[in-house]
Structure formats: structure tokens, C-alpha cells
Amino acid sequence: MIYRKLKEYAPERLAFAAIGIVLAFLAALLSIASYYMLYRFLVKIIADGDIRGAVPAAFRIAALLVANTAVYFLSLWATHALGFRLETNLKKLGIRRLMQASFSFYDRNDSGRIRKIIDDNTVLTHMSVAHLIPDLSTAVFVPVLGAALAFAVDVKLGVLFLVTLLLGLYFIQRMMGDRQFMKRYMEAQETMNAGAVEYVRGIHVLKIFRMNAESLREFHRAVLAYSDLALRYSMSCRRWYVVFQVFFNAVYLTAMFFYSVRNGEPREFLAKFMFYVMFHGILFISFMKVMYVGMYLFQANSAIGKIETLFREMEEKKLPRGTAEKMDSFDIEFRDVTFSYGEERVIENLSLTLPAGRSYALVGSSGSGKTTLAKLISGFYQTDGGEIRIGGRALSEYSDGAFARNIANVFQDARLFQDTIYENVRAGRRSASREEVMEALHLAQCDEILGKFAGREETVIGSEGVHLSGGEMQRITIARAILKNAGIVILDEASAAADPENEYELQRALANLMKGRTVIMIAHRLSSIRNVDEILVIENGRVAERGSHGELMRGDTRYRRLQEEFMRANEWRVRGEAAPAAQAL
């Protein structure tokens, strides 16, 4: 399993795994050899009384131990080289996949969470792979070679060694406790962590309402439940843990009783016995490695599993793309389009044409589907039925590049790269000349922003002392969109997040962006859309009304009601009388 993954994600370093295993084997061999020398040493001093003969054995013990340590270290180094590469490759793959992931993936997942999953789990893979290979080798080679040595010294000791090994493994297996427990334990931990995040995020509210951890019942319960579960799990392992410890530290004394059935020289037996007492400890290290291996395997598998699950989620609802690079015209057409977020159907059998070169405003209450419409036109989501066409071609026929060049989006939350203002704008069209970039900045009402900084357009966003308000950042993204010179402009609440005293400049910047293009806009400020060519009132994913402001204000229309409500909310005052009727219309 792990091997297959290694082959998939770090093929170029697969040899390092082999090197790691071979070196670990060599290290085990050296270690066992040092014990063999210890045995020789004991025979010399106890049985033979040949002290001079014991000296070379003592030197060899020391030399073999040094060699063992060095080789084991090399083995670790090889597997670390492999582990690091694996981590790097997984991270790179992560970046690549992130840039190709479907938009609905980003809707469903919080950015911090995505980053954390990739970050934490790639690190975990490297750690577990780096330690897994040498540990696994040690866990296997040391007992096998050790048994061989024990048999070589004395058959009875060999048998005892094997029995100890098997019984020890059995105890360890019992000691692992209930697997079901492990799952519940992880769940309890997750609930607790979620509670902690919630707690910290809402700390100001908790302060004001004088709530403590105890009164936040869910969190308090989660903390106690987690500890309780962990304790119960520990207690379920108690008996076998204790039995294992006592068994392991006493079992070698059994060899003492071999003495009574001996038929040899007592001193020779004593040498063997003492050797065994000193030797059998290596099994303990192997047992520990067995446990670590179990843990690392579990970690590596779950880490890679989590990353792969994330990658799969990125692929879900991914959009088919074609090869058409150019949009011949910017007529937009919905043909019988159906779309849903998960279970919830947002748009059903919608057909609609929006001829090019005009401006359209989508209005309606939140949840009516107007934002979804705008996103569908931008090619963010795959429709569940029907098709959307631009310039006579289905969206799926266009390449990513065609979307990037022909559609400019301005969203509510403007985001800039950590680069200079100039480069941020130039990202809209890399081939643009300096004059063009500066002209775009000018049209987007950014001159005043540039004037605030000594570095003007070379000011780096996010560097010290460079603070831009939401509305100012938005104007820079508008400059980028202007530079792009796309045929279709889609504005989704583009001025909603602006600071009020900047909103007017923002409006003017947007007006410049809209000039001469096909525009789809969603504006929270209903007063501002009166002059657009056509207004579409969206209700439950359908176009309820359509027409110019003048047309729609005649008669008892939904649009008229929306405008009136807007006016009333706008005219409201703290400590005011009932809001005045909307006469200004």
C-alpha cells in the first residue's frame, strides 16, 4: 500500500527506500554480531578463564557497536531523503491541483482548513515514511537474526527466544485495545477541537455575556468526554500492558531452570545463561519498533488518504473545457438551464438571452439565485441540465484562457497579490505597456491612492505602513479588469464592501470599466441601477420581470416594491418617526 503510493508520488527516490532497507539490515547484522562477540567474551572469561583471549573480543564488541550506529544512521538519512522528497512532491501536486480545483470546492471549504490539511498531512507523510522503513527493517531483521544467534548458542535458548518473541507479540496485540475505541477517540478529539476554535473565535461575545467554558455546555462536555474516553481506552489496555511488562522483564530467568536438566560443564552453561540475560533485551527494542511501525503505517495511510480525499474533492464538479480560444461575440444565452448546490435546486429550466453590448442588472432578495446566475455565466460551475452559450458556442467549448481573456469579474471582496500595485494591475494583461497600465489606474480613480505613497505604483501591497481600505483595494482590482479589456464584465456586489466615503470613487471607476462592454451587474444600491439598459428581477431562480427602470416602475411590479423598500430602509433614522413614503421615485 505505502509502497504503491511511494511509487506514485516519489518514483525518482524509490532507490532510497531500497538503500534504507539494505542499510537497516546491515545495521541489524552488525548489532547481532556485537552480541555474538559478547558471547565469545563471556565464554572466555567465565568458562575458559582465558582473560587474554577476551581482550580482542572486547575490542570487537566496541568496533561493531560503532559500525552499527553509523550504518543505522545512514539508513535513516536515506529514508529522510525519500521522505522529504515525498513531502515536496505532494506539496507541489497540491499547488497544481489547487489551481485546477473546481470553484464549488472553494465554496465548500474554508481556505485555512484546506491549507492545514495539505500542510499537516504532507509533513506527517514525510515523518512516517522516514521512520517507517528503518523501524520496520529493525523490527523484522533483529528478531530473525537474533533467533539465529540464540539457536547457534544453544537450542534451548533459541526456543526460549522464539517463545518470548511470539508471546510478546501476542501480548502487544492484546494491548492495542479496541479499534472501535480509536475511532470514537478521534471523533471526540475533533468535536473538542471544533469547540475550541468556536470558543476562541467568539471570545469577545463570551466576554460581554460573561460566559465561561462551563456555561458553553457543548464545549465543556466535549473536553470532559474526550478525557473520559481516553482514560477508558487506557484502562482497556491496562491488564495486557502490565502482563507484558512483567513477563518480558522476568521471562529470561526461565533459562535458569535449564541448568537442572543440563548435561555439561556448569561454567559453560553459566556463560550461555549470562549471555542470554544480556541479549534478550534486544527483543524489547524490536517490540517497541513493532508498535511504532503500526503507528507510522496508520499515520502515513491516513495522511495520504486525507490528501487524496482532498484532491478528489477538488476534482468533483470540475468543469469540462474545450479548445476554442476566441469568443466571436458576447451574446449570452441560457438554454433550459438547471442548477443546484448539493440538494438544493437553485435554478430550474431557465431560458434567457442577453444580447451583447448592453448592461444588465440582476435584482432580487438574497437567496433568489442572482449570484448563481452571474457565476454560471463566468463559467465557475457546471450546469446540471441545459447549456449556457456565449457567442453561439457552449461554455464547455472554450479554453481556460478564453475565459481569462474575455470575462472580467469584480467580486465583493477584492484581493491583491503581495506585489507592487503596478504588477497587480499588469496581471490583467501581461503584454500591456506601461502607458496602458497607468491609464487603467487613472480610469479606475487610483491616482489619489498612488499619491498617498512615496513609491507610487511601485508600492508593495501588504508591506509595512501600506494600508489600503476595502474600497481602495477594489479600485486597484478594477484597474486590472480595465486593463484586461474583456468583452464581458460581471460585477457581483462590487461596491458593497467599500467604505462609504470611497464608494463614490468606486462607482465612477466601475462606470469606466462598464463603458462599451456587455455588463452583468448585481448591485445592493438599487438607486444606482436606474439607467442600465435592462433590469432582470430574479425570484426563485427564475426571471420574474424584465425591462428598463421606466417600464418596470409602471404598474404594480415586484421591482417597484423592491425600490420602495430600498428607499424606506435608506430613509430610516434612529429615533425617527415612521419612514416617509418614497416620494422621490
Binding site: 567474551f41 567465565i46 587474554r52 581482550v55 572486547a58 575490542f59 529522510h80 506539496k91 499547488i95 489547487l98 489551481m99 480545483a101 500542510d119 471544533a194 469547540g195 475550541a196 476554535v197 468556536e198 476562541v200 469577545h204 461575545v205 463570551l206 466576554k207 460581554i208 460566559m211 465561561n212 456555561s215 455546555r217 473536553v223 478525557s227 481516553a230 482514560l231 484502562m235 491496562r238 502490565v242 522476568a250 530467568l253 535458569m256 561454567r267 553459566l270 545463561f273 540475560v277 544480556m278 533485551g281 432578495s365 481569462a404 497579490f417 496581471a427 467604505d499 462609504p500 466615503e501 464608494e503 448591485a523 442600465v532 424606506r568 430602509a569 430610516w572 434612529v574 429615533r575 425617527g576
Partner: protein, 573 residues
């Protein structure tokens, strides 16, 4: 010893006592294991002297020792785990309560979700160390000292041969930590750079794609990662060196003893059984050390976690006396404040917000409006000047007494994953269900709550994810209705809501503010025209104070704000 444990491992008093006890038991466990070796020695001695003992002698010895060791190991297990998990939940709750008492400035210096996760993880690490590493290491160190002393006394030369390599191994382990620290520091920046690159790719993916610069972005990050990998491999080797030496020395113990004892035997300066005894003891010590290696490492690296925990404990909490407040005029005099040292967000602000009056604060974004509300509520402690309520400096009023009298409705509503009922009840913990429901009705929530699958008992998901923005805001207003505190602070509560929700909230609001000291921050100039007092702010200073009419006369800034808002309203695309 206790102080050392407490500081070094960040434990509570109860936890420290538990670790002490566990360490003693752990020492006994080590001693018990040694007893088995002693039986082997006894056997060896008999053989060497040619004295044969009947098997039952050994059996009896073995049986008694087994019983003793079984009991001690079992006791160690039960004691340790019971203490550990109680300590873990104690620590978590202690931290949670501690966090609540800190001024918000502590949180603005830390990434919120990271903070919560780290703390939970830190406690888990301490918990693990407590159940495994702490008692065993402490027990082992004392055991090593005791056995080492015994060995040194019985044969100084061989004793040194046993103790010195072990000690050297130990020292190198400590040294490896310094080494690791140095390299981790170097790597830390790289790793943070990469984390930021990831975050940027995720957050800006819309922009990256709409600009078609995917390849460029990939190449940049990919290069960065290759560089980081090289650095890390180098670091791994360098910082591995002391560790390598440490293991080497420990393992060498056996070799050194063999050599020294061969020499001593040759010179006839030692008895054979003594040599065997030393070999057995050193094997036991080295094996135990090997088994302990990870535990030692675990303790060495616990530092950073404990440091974070202790830092949290040492951050001063907000102090003050419990005070009964009678009147609720808020008087600000020359108030100064900055989120970081050296910056001034509020710079010498003075005004009075009277009881039963509405005071509005207006001004360009970043002028310090919202900050003022946080200062008045003592979410942050102001730096200079004074804020008085009922004539008393609020820094001398305990937060508990103050918060009792203050309601704060934030622009960003925070809801908890609990029932709707519990979420509103936060306003006043002892409110009856009926009172909660009445507050919900007053805030215009009743209608949508009744439509939820389980009505008031519906769990609303993490941070109320099942509710819309407008619904969330109405719940937070219901909290304020329920609390009915004499001071009401409103911070841009209707920003980013749609028209329908805004209207609902507006109609609830005029009822809510009745008879209270109200301070409202609003970006909509028109909505606060009727306020009793309007404070116009710019760059952390008060530009002017007055009624709408007065300000139209006296403040150019106010006129400009009004004009701007009129231009925005009249704008047509």
C-alpha cells in the same frame, strides 16, 4: 522540585503532585526489574562457587519478585493515566477560562484559529508526556543515580566505565537540542514562506485563474520548495550529528566495560562475579536508556509548548473591583489607544454619551470609530486619558460588573453550535424559555425560528452556518433584548444586509434603544441624523461634536461626509 516541575512542564498543582508520585512508583518499577537481574546474579554466584541450590529456592524468589513487580507496574499504570486525563481536562478548562479573562489585545496578536488548535494540541502533547515521559524519565534519572553511585562505590574504575559513557550520551542529547533549535529557526522562515504561498494560492485562486498566471505561480512556489528541501536535508544531517554521538556513547558502554573488566581481570584486581554484575547492570541501564530515548526527546521538545502555555498564564488579565453602577453616563476624557506599541488609533478623544441619549459616531473608515466602542466596553483597555461611567474609571471596575451593564451588537455576528434557544439565552443565562421567546419575537426572529426543523431547539451548526446573515443579526439583537442592559453599543449592525433584513432590524432597533445609553457607529449618515449627539471623527481625533444641525454649521468634515453620501446615493451607472 515542585516549582521546577510546574515551570518546566506547565502543570497544575494537582498535576505536579501526581507526577511526583508516579516518578516514585516508576523508580520502584525500575528497581523491581533490577531485582530479576539480582536473581540471575545470585544464581551465577552459586554456580561459580559450586554451590547447588534446589530449584524451589529460585522459584520462591521469582514468585515473590513477580508479585511485587506486578503490583508496582499496575499501580504505576493506573495512577499515571488517571492523573493524566484529569490533568488534561483541568488544563484545557483552565486555559479556556484564562483566555476569557484576557483583554482582546492578546488575541489581535495571534491568529485565532491557530491559537485554539495549538492550545488543544499543546495540552495533548503535555498530556502524552505526562502519561509516558515525565514519570519515567524522572524515575529513571534517580534510578541511574542510585545504581551509578552503587557501582562507583563497589568498584570506582568499572563504575566510571559504566557511568561516563552514559553521561556523555546524555550530554550530547542535551546538546542536540540546541543544534536542533538553531536549525529549526533557519527552517522556520522557509516553512512560513511556503505556508503563506499556499494560503495565497488558495485565497487568490479566482484572481490567479482570471489572470491566467497559473504556470508562473506554480514555478515560483515549486522553486521555493526545492530550495527548502535542500536546506532541510542539510539541517537533518547537521542536527543529527550530536544525536548520533549520543547514541554511540550509550551503546559503547558495553564495549568499554568489557575492555576495562578484561584488563582488571587480567591484573587480578577484580572478582569474576563482580564483572558479571557490572555487565548485567550496564545492560539494564542501557536497555532502559534505549527505551527511554524517545521519552527524553519528547521532554526536551516540550519546551516550546510549555512556554506558550506559561506565556498565556503570565499575560496580565483585566483587573478591577466589583462595583454597583447607578448612573450610566459615559464620559471620555482625552482617551488614547493603539493596538500596537507606537501607533495611535485613538488619539485624545473627549465626549460624553448621556444616559437616555443616543450618541452616534461617524467618520471615514479607519478613523477609530469601532475602536472607541471596544474601549468603552473594556474589551480593550485604553492606554491614556480616562473613561468614566457613573463617575468611576472603568479600569477600576471589574469586567464582570461592567459587562453586566453593557450590551454590544457587533457587525460580525458570532453564534455557537448549540440550539437557537441557548444561543439567545446567552444574553441572560437565567432567563426562562418564555423570556427567551419573547426576546426573539421583539427582535423579529420568531417567524424564521418557527420554520426551522425543531424550532427553538434546532442546532444551528458551526457558527450558525444554517442561518442567513440577516437571521444571524436578528438573533444577536434578540440577545440584546434579553439582556436589556442599560448601556447599548451598536457597531455597523446593518452593514452588508439585504434590504428586507435591514428593514426588519431597523424596526426592532428603535424599540431596543428605548431608555438606554446608546452609542452607535454607523456608516449611513442619514440614519443617525436624529441622534442627540453626533461625534465626528477623523484619524483618531474628534473633529466636532453636536447635533446634525449644529454640525452642518460647524464641521467641514461633516458637511463633506454628507455631501459624499448624497453623491453616492444619486449616482447612476
Amino acid at each position: 522540585m515542585r516549582r521546577f516541575l510546574k515551570e518546566k512542564f506547565g502543570l497544575t498543582d494537582r498535576g505536579v503532585r501526581a507526577v511526583e508520585l508516579a516518578s516514585v512508583i516508576s523508580f520502584l518499577v525500575n528497581f523491581g526489574y533490577m531485582l530479576f537481574m539480582m536473581i540471575a546474579m545470585y544464581f551465577g554466584d552459586n554456580v561459580l562457587r559450586g554451590e547447588e541450590k534446589p530449584a524451589w529456592v529460585y522459584l520462591l524468589l521469582l514468585a515473590v519478585t513477580l508479585l511485587f513487580v506486578y503490583c508496582v507496574v499496575d499501580l504505576e499504570y493506573v495512577r499515571t493515566y488517571n492523573a493524566t486525563y484529569r490533568e488534561a481536562s483541568d488544563l484545557r478548562l483552565e486555559i479556556a477560562d484564562r483566555l476569557r479573562e484576557l483583554p482582546l489585545s492578546y488575541f489581535s496578536r495571534h491568529d485565532l484559529s491557530d491559537l485554539a488548535q495549538t492550545i488543544m494540541q499543546d495540552v495533548s502533547d503535555i498530556e502524552h508526556a505526562m502519561s509516558h515521559a515525565m514519570p519515567r524519565c524522572i524515575g529513571y534519572v534517580f534510578f541511574l543515580a542510585a545504581v551509578g553511585l552503587l557501582l562507583l562505590v563497589s568498584n570506582p574504575l568499572l563504575g566510571l566505565a559504566t557511568v561516563l559513557p552514559l553521561l556523555a550520551g546524555f550530554l550530547f542529547m542535551l546538546f542536540s537540542k540546541d543544534m536542533q533549535k538553531r536549525w529549526t529557526g533557519k527552517y522556520f522562515w522557509k516553512s512560513r514562506e511556503m505556508t503563506e504561498a499556499f494560503q495565497e494560492t488558495i485565497e487568490l485562486q479566482r484572481e490567479i485563474r482570471s489572470c491566467g498566471i497559473e504556470e508562473e505561480n506554480y514555478r515560483r512556489i515549486s522553486d521555493m520548495m526545492d530550495g527548502a528541501e535542500k536546506l532541510r536535508l542539510r539541517a537533518e544531517i547537521t542536527q543529527g550529528m550530536p544525536m548520533l554521538l549520543s547514541i554511540l556513547f550509550m551503546k559503547l558502554t558495553l564495549g568499554v566495560i568489557s575492555l576495562v573488566s578484561a584488563w582488571l581481570l587480567g591484573a587480578n584486581r577484580i572478582q569474576l562475579i563482580m564483572v558479571i554484575g557490572f555487565l548485567l547492570a550496564s545492560v539494564r541501564l542501557v536497555d532502559a536508556m534505549g527505551a527511554m530515548e524517545e521519552s527524553f526527546a519528547e521532554l526536551l521538545y516540550l519546551d516550546a509548548r510549555v512556554k506558550r502555555l506559561n506565556e498565556l498564564r503570565e499575560t496580565p488579565t483585566q483587573t478591577g473591583r466589583d462595583t454597583e453602577l447607578g448612573r450610566f453616563d459615559i464620559v471620555l476624557k482625552d482617551v488614547r489607544f493603539g493596538y500596537e506599541d507606537g501607533t495611535r488609533v485613538v488619539d485624545g478623544v473627549s465626549f460624553t454619551a448621556g444616559q437616555n441619549e443616543v450618541t452616534a459616531i461617524v467618520g471615514p473608515s479607519g478613523c477609530g470609530k469601532s475602536t472607541l466602542l471596544r474601549l468603552i466596553s473594556r474589551l480593550y483597555d485604553y492606554g491614556g486619558g480616562e473613561i468614566r461611567i457613573d463617575g468611576k474609571d472603568i479600569r477600576e471596575i471589574s469586567t464582570d460588573s461592567l459587562f453586566q451593564k453593557v450590551s454590544f451588537v457587533f457587525q460580525d455576528v458570532i453564534l455557537f453550535n448549540a440550539s437557537v434557544l441557548d444561543n439567545i439565552r446567552m444574553g441572560r443565562a437565567d432567563a426562562s424559555d418564555e423570556e427567551v421567546k419573547r426576546a426573539a419575537e421583539q427582535a423579529g426572529c420568531a417567524e424564521f425560528i418557527e420554520k426551522l426543523p425543531q424550532g427553538y431547539d434546532t442546532l444551528i451548526g458551526e457558527n450558525g452556518s444554517r442561518l442567513s446573515g440577516g437571521e444571524r443579526q436578528r438573533i444577536s439583537i434578540a440577545r440584546a433584548f434579553l439582556k436589556n442592559a442599560p448601556i447599548l453599543l451598536l457597531d455597523e449592525i446593518a452593514a452588508s444586509l439585504d434590504v428586507e433584513n435591514e428593514m426588519r432590524i431597523q424596526s426592532a432597533l428603535n424599540q431596543l434603544i428605548e431608555g438606554k445609553t446608546v452609542v452607535i457607529v454607523s456608516h449611513r449618515m442619514k440614519s443617525v441624523e436624529n441622534a442627540d449627539r453626533i461625534v465626528v471623527m477623523e484619524n483618531g481625533r474628534v473633529d466636532a461634536v453636536g447635533t446634525h444641525r449644529e454640525l452642518l454649521e460647524s464641521s467641514a468634515l461633516y458637511r463633506r461626509l454628507i455631501e459624499k453620501s448624497r453623491m453616492t446615493e444619486d449616482f447612476r451607472y
